[in-house]
Subunit: 156 residues, 2 copies
DNA sequence: TTTAGTGCAAAAGTTTTGCATGGTC
DNA sequence: GACCATGCAAAACTTTTGCACTAAA
């Protein structure tokens, strides 16, 4: 019998209640200067239940009266994504979303209706991947699994 | 012991040598009118080893002396994608690629250097997915696995 | 004070759309 | 003939970039 371990790493609400110092530390740990704007973007992602596009985040921050340029949001998201601080999700072509995720290798379960995102642990594809590489003469460097469904809230 | 079946469905070269009538039939089977332009786009995809963006296909066709508008390429790709005739792959944000794939559920193994694409069969995640749905109160509607690696040609 | 980050506006791309024209059934 | 598809050009968007200015180390 094969064991499958589904391991929830962290719920969104945990991040939402994290304190500013934690966000500073997160940036510091990657050698990223903790500027006001970067903390704003990171804070917005931390408070975000789901994922968000650059434009959505910019709109949200501006609506709250914060001052930040759209270009800065893009630059910050690119930086954070490069550094592995946030994940990039592409649900539909032309719709690039970002999300503050737990660290380490994981996958996503996304509600196709409300875009709610649940992080998933390992998916036990190890030996399948090994076989793949051998069969096609590829050296496999990574993989991603995106599971789509409808969450309980949206079913009701 | 767990069996993993890796099943190559069809190589690109098979498609490349397919005859025009097959493409017409493919369109007819979905109730899509076989216009000159649609056959052009489909033919280009059939001849394409890897995947291609709308712009790349338009450039390629124009370079060959074919007359077709860029908007038509976009419209045709959207139509074919909606009808499930072709697959949509998003390698990087803002880079939407299309590919004429075999039918049925499958996944992709993509070379990160040359964009060569190999189709993969089932990946045996069935019971993992069942557990997921139950654990998070989602009704799982689909999933995709994209494996990235470096192919033998690019390693050398 | 030296280096890095930001804002703004312009530019560069990609994709969509309106509408007159031409092709298919 | 009725309806659908196409081409072109314009529009709508998204994302990137140049450059002067400001903030952080």
């Amino acid at each position: 019998m094969r064991m499958i371990v589904v391991r929830m790493t962290r719920y969104r609400t945990d991040m939402a209640t994290e304190r500013q110092p934690d966000l500073r530390a997160l940036l510091a740990s990657r050698g990223i200067r903790p500027t006001r704007q970067r903390l704003l973007v990171l804070g917005a992602l931390a408070a975000e239940q789901n994922d968000a596009t650059a434009q959505q985040m910019h709109d949200g921050l501006r609506a709250r009266g914060e001052t930040i340029g759209l270009a800065t949001v893009y630059r910050t998201l690119a930086l954070l994504s490069d550094q592995g601080v946030i994940d990039t999700l592409v649900h539909r072509p032309g719709e690039v979303c970002y999300r503050l995720c737990s660290e380490g290798h994981h996958h996503h379960l996304v509600c196709s209706q409300c875009h709610r995102v649940v992080e998933l642990g390992e998916c036990d594809l190890g030996s399948w991947l090994d076989d793949l590489g051998a069969a096609h003469d590829f050296s496999v460097t990574g993989y991603s699994v995106e599971v789509t469904g409808v969450c309980a809230g949206c079913t009701a």
